[in-house]
Symmetry: C2
Subunit: 287 residues, 2 copies
């Protein structure tokens, strides 16, 4: 995992190199949003999917970096005053606090465009049809029927507060699940897996994505309990799996989801140590 | 031109059809931003480039619609309070006035993703390598070294007010010129033009893009003179070609640019009536 993260850091640094035409302050904001940031969870999923076959490291790194560009742009926009109004991100001032709101909006937009450009470009090993599939998949996962759609449902839920458990599952499936699922799928496509294998991975990824979100909701509460930060979700009036089900039932749900994901992999004979460890990491993580 | 606009309207309506997964309010904002909107100038450029060869109508329409999705998303984000803070767009309330700021940000983001997805998809006639070239080209034209970069320079110039003519040319080349140039180039790529022809078209497109902007600046002043609206550029303290050169010199520059563009086309034997009329339209238009 550390090697994947280092590869991604190097690739993002290279993809975000200074040029004559990019305004320096815009590039600085884009680099601030993407470099030395986060767990690189999505690129690790690309790696785990690719590890089901034989895939060159350059391809894993390129696809992971493109997805990370999208993930980072979405955090920049989610943090804006009109959205979650977050002053801090990963312990540093959020992009709009550091560079101003207009620059944050533009940096996000430019990262979104760059993600698609670097997937489509011919300067990495994947063949043309595969690069196209990945652009289509990333566009869908990040668009109105994926990440952006989920964030929209989330914003509507904060004001309406009428979400059922089913609606919350649907919200999270779009908001975080779509990009998480695409990350694993993209790796598996690099590995050349067939349609049946991709379907089994989708079931696993769906369970993993929900588990990721439930663990996030639990962490918000636990961090609140240790006093480092008051439960931000509750403060924002946001319905989470924890506020909906209570913490014990939410923890039980994590175990159920792990079993669901694992049996889908077993049925398709795709159960690797790496995919097992990944689920454990997601439901045990403390940050 | 009316036929191109009608084709684009129909294609955008189709690309923005309701589905089970897209939240209705998000889709509504995306449709509000894109439908029954504007002159469809960029799709007309795609058509003019494609008319240099034999290109099927479906391809011209798909590429024009993808570029229009990007153009419309950029207007949604440019109008935001943190950017130009525009209450009206084409005589209607801007997207954030109509739907709220968060929805406007998300609608723009989702349109950006959709543009790339529909270019990459296999449901229109272009071959895979061409679709990839177009995704790369659109990503570049819209990204940090194109449209987003130009908007960044524009924001910096509004506060600093120290722009030389050369800097203003560079700003506009990125802000509006990159996407205008790409529109014409994309059409020419559909037509299978060779590298020498593409270079000549780039010179023409560069002149056209600058002329488009200078005409915009003159219109801002003229509309101001007729009292419909006080010169918004001057009100925002923004340096334009008109505030920099004065209106008579700006008008003379339009004629020079037309000659430059035309001689590049002549040297490459690409001077069509359509490309001539297009330049006349750009420098004579009254809206």
């Amino acid at each position: 995992m550390a090697r994947v993260a280092a590869d991604i850091e190097r690739e993002l640094d290279r993809l975000l190199s200074p040029t004559d035409t990019v305004p320096p302050r815009l590039l600085e904001a884009m680099r601030y949003a993407c470099l030395e940031a986060g767990k690189r969870f999505r690129p690790i999923l690309v790696h785990a999917g690719a590890a089901l076959g034989h895939v060159d490291r350059a391809s894993i790194t390129r696809v992971g970096a493109a997805i990370e560009l999208v993930h980072c742009y979405s955090l920049v926009h989610d943090d804006l005053p009109a959205m979650d109004d977050a002053e801090l991100r990963r312990g540093k001032p959020s992009v709009h606090r550091q560079f101003g709101e207009a620059t944050a909006i533009l940096a996000g937009d430019a990262l979104n465009a760059l993600a698609m450009e670097v997937l489509a470009r011919a300067d990495w090993p994947a063949a043309a049809p595969l690069r196209l599939e990945l652009v289509v998949g990333l566009g869908r996962a990040a668009g109105a029927a994926g990440m952006c759609g989920g964030q929209m449902l989330d914003l509507e839920s904060s004001s309406e507060r009428l979400l059922s458990e089913e609606e919350l599952v649907q919200l999270q499936r779009l908001k975080t699940g779509a990009l998480i699922g695409f990350s694993l799928e993209a790796g598996a496509r690099l590995a050349g897996l067939d349609a049946a294998a991709l379907r089994a991975l989708t079931v696993y990824a769906d369970a993993l994505g929900l588990a990721f979100q439930i663990r996030d909701d639990l962490l918000d509460l636990e961090v609140g309990e240790t006093g480092k930060m008051a439960g931000r979700d509750a403060a924002l009036g946001r319905k989470t799996f924890v506020t909906l089900l209570g913490a014990p039932a939410a923890r039980a749900r994590l175990i159920e989801l792990r079993q669901q994901g694992w049996s889908a992999l077993s049925r398709a004979k795709l159960e690797t140590n790496l995919l097992g460890q990944l689920f454990d990491f997601v439901i045990d993580r403390s940050s």
